[in-house]
Symmetry: C2
């Protein structure tokens, strides 16, 4: 197996290093030969090459069987609205060029961490849903975008084709068939033309999946219900921007944000990454929680290589680390906090 | 005082009726002559005239000193992506034609209801922030919007001018000066051209308000922090679509969604409405909670007529009704539930 490693910015390199240890241990245990090829992305790549997603990095991704990605983002670019190159451009270009049109983000709870949820126990216990966020379309990529000549007016374009909606929606329907058979289409069809196309397209597909119950909800209503009664959801599908906001909202309800993995997949390529960001304040301190990245590696074994036992071995050891308290300071709570690298060693 | 009454759809007419009782009682107590003029809007107006915001209604609003509005929306339009006229168009047209560019949505807690919050007590206790949502621009109104000829592609345009951002931001800065002096600008400047103009404009205005601390946060991060630590916020300013999602998310954290009022204001006109929707399932049953509408009437006295004592009298009686349990079934919890109309009578 050839895995492209893209550590990226902030705590990215540290958490990726732990995932590598674990992947190597799994390779050894199950007798797989695993090759890693590392490449730069984000602010790290700008520093090196001036480009947040260099062509060389793209080639590394293309020849790999899967990409394991850390995080992107550096605060030095955030408050400079006029910066010409930004780390996030690299992320968007990578998604687009690799055709990663579906971002799959599960939300579930860990019994040993559920007390950290900001929500009351009865609301969050047993929560188990998954978002399919469209990742290569919408307002993130639509043209035209920019400013008028005087710079006094700015614009962005949200655009979706039926085809883009269909391929994402089908993934959602299929996932729902394997789960609790409920699909929620999240849109703003009472305002947006794009959302009306989403709703229409999903309505047309629905008869092909007669075992799946389909619900249509406005994005503002979902933003409420995710807090009020998140157990109501099973599979949610939505466009890029709504998905950005809602999956982040969803990520905090379980109380274990630092543990949530994600997959971004397309027809040709597959990328796995923790949902947390680059957490620059913690960079280089060996304190970041590596579990989300390690669990992203588990998703990689399952979704990229169809190796369920390998994925399970990783989940099992993560659960064991939680049970035995071999965890970083963000979840240690009074008991001994381990370093990022120590947790990685222990897991491996 | 001339007040335009726009009951709208669903429970709108029932909750507006209670606000009228209370406003009349206040008029009597404080010696004001209050005239009401009623007009149709939303699905109710479509049924009557084919138009969700008829010209006659607009004229009623224009000649009034303030508009008291119920709710809009009827499920019969929601799952018909091809419907030619929708109730929401009336709402958007009303906002645009009346120039209501700022939607002001406070979130605060009622001690007697805080236990209903989905969040743990320590997270929500003392929460007190206010959103200034831009209401007449952005992707809600931008052109072009629609479909390609074959109907296989849809598009919307997000657009903002510096002027639109400036007038909304100034309201936020001024509000912050009267509160805890913290302003959070919510955008997606790492992706959107419009958001970069927002951030740039706010950065340029900031030196005029040296006593206000300004923070810039991405919309996805705010969606998280609103749940994790909502006490961190004081005044938040944001564009139309982000505001739609985030103010609804914010509305549930206090546990008293049915009580939250809002104001939509412009240079010429002012409109007051509960933040809850038309709640069609409850329509005609005399069970809807009228308190958000009654408190919107309090906001009207304060913001439209600069009558603080009148506003205070309404807040006081609302608090009294909560203390004495003269409340509708949604907050009665085991003790006797009163009808919508009974609560209105009692308050008046
Ligand atoms: C960094 C940013 C461009 C990105 C996005 O908005 O997609 C991030 O928030 C995410 O969700 O992966
Ligand atoms: C009904 C709808 C068009 C409206 C909006 O999106 O503005 C509503 O959600 C609101 O927030 O007032």
């Amino acid at each position: 197996m050839n895995i492209a490693l893209l550590p990226g910015d902030g705590i990215g390199p540290e958490v990726i290093a732990q995932a590598v240890k674990v992947v190597n241990a799994v390779g050894k245990k199950f007798g797989h030969t695993i090759n890693f090829e590392e490449a730069a992305v984000g602010a790290a790549a700008i520093d090196l090459t001036g480009n947040p997603y260099p062509e060389a990095t793209h080639e590394v991704c293309l020849r790999a069987d899967a990409v394991l990605f850390g995080a992107i983002g550096d605060p030095k670019y955030d408050n400079d609205p006029k910066a010409k190159v930004r780390p996030e451009q690299g992320l968007l270009e990578m998604r687009k060029k690799l055709g990663l049109f579906a971002n799959i983000r599960p939300t579930f709870t860990f019994p040993s961490l559920i007390h950290k949820s900001p929500l009351k126990l009865e609301r969050v216990e047993g929560v188990d849903f998954v978002f399919f966020r469209e990742l290569t379309g919408g307002i993130y990529f639509g043209e035209p975008r920019g400013r008028n000549e005087q710079g006094t007016k700015a614009f962005d374009t949200n655009v979706y084709t039926k085809e883009e909606i269909t391929r994402l929606a089908r993934m959602g329907f299929e996932a729902a068939q394997k789960r609790r058979k409920l699909l929620t289409c999240v849109d703003k069809a009472n305002v947006l033309a794009t959302s009306r196309l989403w709703r229409e397209t999903v309505q047309e597909l629905a008869p092909e999946y007669p075992d799946v119950k389909v619900e249509y909800e406005f994005v503002d209503a979902v933003a409420m219900r995710l807090i009020q009664w998140p157990k109501a959801y099973d599979v949610l599908i939505t466009e890029n921007l709504f998905g950005d906001i809602l999956t982040d909202e969803a990520s905090v309800i379980s109380g274990s944000m630092g543990l949530m993995p994600s997959a971004s997949v397309g027809t040709e390529n597959k990328l796995f990454e923790p949902i947390h960001g680059s957490y620059p304040q913690a960079a280089g301190k060996d304190i970041a929680n590596p579990l989300a990245t390690v669990l992203s590696a588990a998703m990689m074994f399952e979704y990229a290589f169809d190796m369920k036992a390998e994925a399970q071995a990783i989940s099992d050891v993560v659960n064991k680390s939680l049970d035995e308290g071999i965890v970083t300071e963000d979840i240690a709570e009074g008991s001994k906090a381990y370093k990022t690298s120590e947790v990685g060693d222990w897991l491996a």
